[in-house]
């Protein structure tokens, strides 16, 4: 099912009549394509969870519309929307067995929809098999590991075959190893069921690795929406560029003079079509190529070996961060004893932004 969010705004009234109203989400529009896994990505407090709660129906938007398929559900109660929700802390009922937790939503069906015990068991076993917890059904939630609890929560959200599955920070309560495993699981379960899924995360790696689409947001506003690779390769602004990618993008103060980009005194790149101005330059770690006669010079700090690649850690006065991280092929190893390391830059990996607003300035071929 396709989901459309149309100009959603959520304003929380001031607490106890004191202070200012908080605008958690501002004029937020996007379309979730049918059957896709979409990540809502942004730093904490940016309004991701509020959007999820509005999609689910726990919060009503102050303005705007939510459309499921053909139906406007903006004023519809959560139970009538046909959504499954996985909460951040899983919200498994601690006094019930895993089995009873999973079939709990089925107990709410009334009239003709009402199921017999056998039908419930059949459904529960099917969904338990999907998330691979068949042998845990008689346990209590506290007897399970975090990852297993997560699966139970997903099973409970899926048992009514929802039109839309929502997950609030599904991996944040898991340790690093489980997180990797579980995100693959989520991807697999989503593929197998084909249910349109929206999940919220502040971890860009998590979002990039498993989702079909990512929505990058900040301070309640949408910054960019697209396929992970597209957003990474073609960030709309400095925030998106900085938020995506590990190691993070290197940011420099620079200037454009005569369609040439300068960082400090080094003329590092041709930027056809850009007027003279001060710019913020973002260079992805993989945007550097080592060249002894390269145009961009930095002070060499150290070289970190990562196997196939090496990471050159160097310093540059114009860099926003204390060090510049570049990742290059290990064949191209520079001389470790020299003080200066020189690079050439790969145009597709260098992004220019307005020094004031952070808006993207496109140049050359990007300027279609």
């Amino acid at each position: 099912m396709k989901v459309v969010l149309d100009k959603l705004t959520k304003v929380f009234p001031p607490r106890g009549g004191k202070g200012d109203a908080v605008t958690a989400v501002k004029d937020f529009s996007f379309e979730i394509p049918d059957g896709k896994l979409v990540a809502l990505l942004g730093p904490s407090g940016c309004g991701k969870s509020t959007i999820l709660n509005m999609i689910c129906g726990l919060e009503r938007p102050t303005e705007g519309k939510i459309i499921f398929g053909e139906d406007d559900v903006t004023q519809v109660n959560p139970e009538l929307r046909g959504v499954g929700m996985v909460f951040q802390n899983y919200a498994l009922y601690p006094h019930m067995s895993v089995y009873n937790n999973i079939i709990f939503p089925l107990g709410n069906l009334k009239g003709e929809e009402k199921l017999t015990k056998e039908q419930m068991r059949e459904k529960a076993e099917k969904v338990a098999a999907l998330v691979q917890i068949e042998n845990l059904l008689e346990r209590k939630p506290k007897e399970l590991s975090g990852g297993q609890q997560q699966r139970v929560a997903i099973a409970r959200a899926l048992i009514k075959t929802p039109r839309l599955l929502l997950m609030d920070e599904p991996l944040s309560n898991l340790d690093a190893r489980l997180r990797l495993q579980t995100r693959e699981e989520i991807r697999r379960i989503q593929r197998e069921t084909g249910v349109t899924t929206v999940f919220v995360t502040h971890d860009q790696e998590e979002a990039m690795s498993i989702s079909d689409m990512i929505v990058v947001m900040k301070d309640g506003e949408l910054h960019q929406f697209g396929k992970p690779q597209e957003v990474y390769d073609d960030p709309a602004n400095l925030f998106v560029a900085k938020f995506l990618g590990t190691p993070a993008i290197n940011v420099f103060e620079g200037s454009v003079k005569g369609e040439k980009l300068y960082i400090g005194d080094d003329c590092v790149l041709d930027v056809p079509g850009v007027k003279d101005c001060d710019v913020t330059v973002g260079i992805r770690p993989e945007g550097f190529t080592y060249d002894a006669n390269g145009s961009f010079k930095c002070k060499l700090d150290r070289i970190e070996v990562m196997g196939r690649d090496i990471s050159i850690v160097s310093k540059n006065d114009k860099c926003e961060a204390p060090v510049v991280r570049s990742i290059i092929d290990s064949d191209m190893r520079p001389d470790e004893d020299s003080d200066i390391v020189s690079f050439n830059l790969r145009p597709g990996k260098v992004h220019l932004f307005d020094a004031g607003t952070g808006a993207r300035i496109r140049f050359g071929k990007e300027n279609k």
Partner: protein, 298 residues
């Protein structure tokens, strides 16, 4: 090292233990011994023999049987009703936002009010005097009913006032504990239930009730024990001659046997006290057994 620590621990416990032994354990054992000593006399410190005569006497004493009956009626009526009312009030308090603090204070006021002062208020409400039939009777006659003497009248009327009084006195503490128990239930459980379309009755019985079951269980157990020890409230309403009013309780009977007008029988008093102890112990054990199945601890 652990040996030394153990010694230290006992040393720290010593003051409490000494007081416990002198004021709790020794009297308990003494009561037990008295209850088997026939015709024990405080002054001479002698008894005429040992045996089960004290128990036999007490169990055949109509005053004692009346007291047992009264106590059981009070327990059976007040414990479930007060817990139920407290739960309803707490649920209501929990669901309102406006004026919540005001209502919380109002419901808690009886807890900080003296029993005898409350008794006085009840007198105004219920007692018939030469000048007035009491507020409640005014109401009853206003609606066309017949005036009832609640303090010196029929048994059911007196028992009604008694239970009303007990419930009113124990309610605040229960409301206090239950409101905090309700507030401590994580709201995401309710959100999860809402998304699944759970009706409010099902939410209450399947989620809220199990989550606050430890508090309810605590209130039921202490409620039972407290109600079995009922005495001062009866005095506040019906005066010290409870046997004459037919409203005596087991603890009242024990007191009367020791110090009352017909008093001076520590052996009978001890036997009655031991019987009460056995009753309370049995009920508490039953409670514990029942709770194993129905109380959920995190």
């Amino acid at each position: 090292m652990t040996e030394k620590n153990n010694l230290k621990a006992w040393l720290y416990l010593l003051p409490a233990l000494i007081f416990m032994i002198i004021f709790m354990v020794y009297p308990l054992m003494d009561v037990f011994v008295y209850s088997f000593e026939e015709g024990y006399n405080f002054v001479s410190g002698r008894s005429s023999g040992t045996g089960l005569y004290n128990f036999s006497y007490v169990l055949h004493d109509t005053y004692f049987l009346q007291a047992v009956k009264n106590t059981f009626v009070m327990v059976i009526i007040t414990v479930p009703l007060s817990t139920g009312f407290a739960l309803l009030i707490s649920l209501a308090l929990n669901s309102i936002t406006k004026l919540r603090e005001l209502f919380q204070t109002v419901y808690f006021l009886p807890y900080v009010t003296n029993t005898l002062a409350v008794g006085l208020v009840f007198m105004v409400l219920f007692k018939k005097t030469a000048y007035s039939d009491g507020l409640i009777n005014l109401l009853i006659t206003f609606f066309g009913g017949k005036s009832v003497d609640f303090i010196d009248g029929p048994y059911w009327a007196k028992m009604f006032v008694m239970c009303f009084y007990i419930i009113w006195v124990v309610l605040p503490f229960k409301v206090l504990l239950l409101t905090s128990a309700l507030a401590s239930v994580n709201s995401t459980y309710y959100n999860a239930a809402r998304v699944d379309g759970t009706g409010s009755l099902r939410i209450f019985f399947k989620i809220t009730l199990p989550m606050i079951s430890p508090t309810i269980f605590y209130l039921v157990i202490t409620g039972f024990i407290g109600a079995f020890k009922e005495y001062s409230d009866a005095v506040a309403l019906f005066g010290t001659d409870l046997n004459a009013a037919g409203m005596n309780t087991i603890v009242g009977y024990v007191y009367d046997m020791l110090y009352g007008d017909s008093g001076g029988f520590p052996s009978f008093a001890s036997a009655a006290a031991i019987i009460l102890f056995v009753i309370v112990l049995t009920i508490t054990c039953i409670n514990l057994l029942v709770s194993k199945k129905h109380v959920y601890y995190t």
